[in-house]
């Protein structure tokens, strides 16, 4: 018993060094590189989202590429794309916590941050897409002028509720994890920073009760969030699956969407980790080791195989249905001569197979290329689902065409700019990884090594 309770005094150095680095980085002035990237992204976000939203509110949804046959265009594609990225962050963080994966600590905070930024980006699209932004209050539980309440049996209302619930709980989960770190920064920083961090630390002292409550609450929160995430992306898929539109009316959609979200989210996390390692201070390079990147890549590979299975399932289901449905599925996949579908499969399933090789998993540039291919593939998947399905119909009169407008393009570019801006601010104000968890991880790892010796 006593031996178990002995602390690892020889392990203090690594964790102490890490804490010191983080505190120094938080207090260091912002670099010119940071300001340049931030200002450029702010300008892009303003032009892309600000100006385009104003155009839509003042001129109507005619400025978009949508038409009578294809009423949902790029805006809904990007809503699904960003919400997918957002869902993966918390799911990965909570699942790795529940399964007690020791490599969770360096990437969990980054994934949670990605969730918050991505959900904010996603939320903009459906609101703006309706054209009359000032009528957004009608999704709230309030009766409108004629006394009619919003229809809670509608998948669109389920979506509003699910995404709002998800955002509220994700931000709470993220903040709860930050409280001990804020306390540490409160105790080590000076001046205004000390006051602000003190405010957000809520008076955390680090007693045994607080640590125990924190640990158990995190676990219970993870257990709550895991089914929530699965339900939320399933609800997003219900926007399509519960309609009678051919190409959307598929029972496969909930798992198909959830796996797709996890795949794109994992790709985004790897991309963020590589960029953060290049652009941020030494602490990130110390915390995010080659082993962490290796394990994250293996998870991406697993998810891409699952996605491949989903594609196979979708097409086998199509073959088992009536000839008309099979024809429609074929027509949907023949969008742009069929190359969109093949690019999607190549990007999401074939290119990630490179990750079987250790050499690729160790190369930062290869990981960036694989992640970009997955993100591109997932974007194409959402495009084929939303636009590809709407363009086809059992009736020739309902078949239409779709071409995105420049406003559509700017909206997407703007959302990417907003994502980078938000991420840069949050990653600057809060530690990129949980300091207490990382300290525990380093010490437990050294303990294991000592026991092995």
């Amino acid at each position: 018993m006593k031996k178990v309770n002995q602390p690892s005094h020889y392990t203090q150095t690594a964790s102490q060094r890490l804490i010191k680095l983080v505190v120094e980085e938080v207090q260091a002035p912002l670099s010119i590189k940071w300001w340049v990237i931030f200002v450029v992204c702010c300008a892009i976000a303003f032009r892309g989202l600000g100006v385009s939203s104003w155009q839509m509110a003042s001129e109507g949804v005619g400025v978009l590429g949508v038409n009578n046959h294809v009423p949902w265009g790029w805006d809904i594609v990007h809503f699904v794309f960003w919400i997918g990225l957002g869902h993966a962050g918390t799911l990965i963080s909570s699942v790795l916590l529940l399964t007690r994966q020791p490599w969770r600590s360096p990437i969990a905070r980054g994934a949670e941050l990605m969730t918050l930024c991505a959900v904010i980006c996603a939320g903009i699209f459906p609101v703006v897409h309706v054209g009359r932004i000032w009528m957004g209050w009608m999704t709230a539980p309030l009766p409108e002028v004629s006394g009619v309440w919003s229809n809670l049996g509608s998948p669109l209302m389920w979506d509003v509720l699910a995404v709002s619930t998800y955002f509220c709980l994700s931000i709470s989960y993220w903040y709860m994890g930050l409280i001990p770190d804020f306390a540490l920064l409160r105790d080590t920083c000076t001046g205004k920073r000390k006051w602000w961090y003190g405010l957000f630390a809520l008076g955390w002292k680090g007693t045994s009760t607080q640590w125990y409550v924190y640990e158990k609450s995190s676990l219970i929160f993870a257990a709550i969030l895991t089914p929530l995430v699965i339900s939320v992306h399933s609800v997003v898929s219900f926007d399509f699956a519960v309609t009678v539109n051919a190409g959307w009316h598929e029972t496969l959609y909930p798992p198909y969407f959830v796996i797709g979200a996890m795949l794109s989210g994992m790709a985004m996390i790897i991309l963020i980790l590589v960029c953060v390692k290049k652009l941020m201070g030494e602490s990130v390079r110390v915390a995010i080791t080659a082993r962490v990147m290796n394990l994250a890549s293996k998870l991406l590979l697993t998810l891409s195989l699952l996605m491949g299975f989903m594609y196979l399932w979708e097409h086998l289901c199509g073959l088992m249905q009536s000839e008309d449905v099979t024809e429609l599925l074929h027509a949907k996949n023949q969008e742009w001569g069929g190359w969109a579908m093949w690019l999607m499969i190549v990007g999401n399933v074939l290119i990630p197979q490179c990750l079987w090789f250790n050499k690729i998993r160790r190369s930062a540039w290869s990981l960036v290329l694989v992640s970009l291919s997955v993100l591109g593939g997932m974007w194409l998947e959402r495009f084929l689902i939303v636009v590809g399905s709407l363009k086809q119909s059992f009736l020739w009169g309902q078949c239409g065409d779709y071409l995105p407008s420049t406003t559509d393009v700017w909206m997407f570019v703007g959302s990417a700019g907003l994502f980078v801006c938000l991420y840069m601010v949050l990653v600057r104000l809060t530690p990129f990884f949980s300091l207490c968890e990382l300290r525990e991880m380093i010490i437990s790892r050294k303990d294991e090594q000592a026991n092995e010796k």
Binding site: S15, L161, S172, S208, W211, Y212, Y214, V235
Partner: protein, 196 residues
């Protein structure tokens, strides 16, 4: 030591040089078994685990209860919302010939589920804040000069409910407490600081 902040009971705050000393002292206190005490550390280390051990089940049960009650409240709220805005209104909103009511309950399952999860989370947050005694803008320990961590994020303390350091001096003889201890009585009244 639990609830030392609620009562104004005097306690002794002892700072240790390193984690090893704190754990040794914590083990001594466990073996002695007569003092109420608590550990303060930069993460859930062995000393904190020893301190929390007798209270684990109770705290976990409280957290689960808060979560469960939150979930129940969410379900109840969802039913009230659905009943008052969909079923008990005139005229009812009929979509595709379906009249809202109990026989259409399936379409409201996502709403019920989401509210259940939302309020389970809210319940958990309330439980977390109440059990961790947060937010807490003032604590008697904050007045103690040496109650701070160093620039490496280290600070190992024990809070022991006793009115005289001599009573526990023999316990810490082999614990390498090179640092300081202070006797803290009430919010406004502090004992003298001693260097060992």
């Amino acid at each position: 030591m639990k609830n030392n902040d609620k009562t104004n009971e005097p306690f002794l705050l002892v700072r240790f040089k390193d984690e090893e000393s704190q754990v040794k002292a914590a083990n001594q206190l466990v073996n002695e078994g007569t003092f109420r005490w608590d550990a303060i550390s930069p993460y859930l280390n062995e000393a904190s685990k020893l301190a929390i051990d007798p209270y684990k089940k109770q705290i976990l049960a409280r957290l689960r209860t808060f979560t469960f009650l939150g979930a129940c409240f969410g379900i109840l709220l969802a039913f009230v919302w659905i009943w008052s805005t969909q079923w008990n209104v005139s005229p009812r909103l009929e979509v595709q010939g379906r009249v809202p009511g109990w026989d259409q309950l399936a379409v409201y399952v996502p709403v019920i589920f989401e509210l259940m999860i939302l309020f389970a989370g809210v319940g958990l947050i309330i439980g977390f804040l109440s059990k961790a005694k947060l937010p807490r803008w003032y604590d008697r320990c904050f007045d103690v000069e040496f109650f701070e961590i160093d620039d490496k994020g280290d600070g190992y303390f024990l809070i022991i409910q006793c009115d005289n350091f001599d009573k526990i001096r023999h316990l810490f003889e082999f614990c390498n407490i090179e640092n300081r201890h202070q006797f803290v009585t009430t919010v406004d009244q502090k004992g003298g600081s001693n260097d060992q």
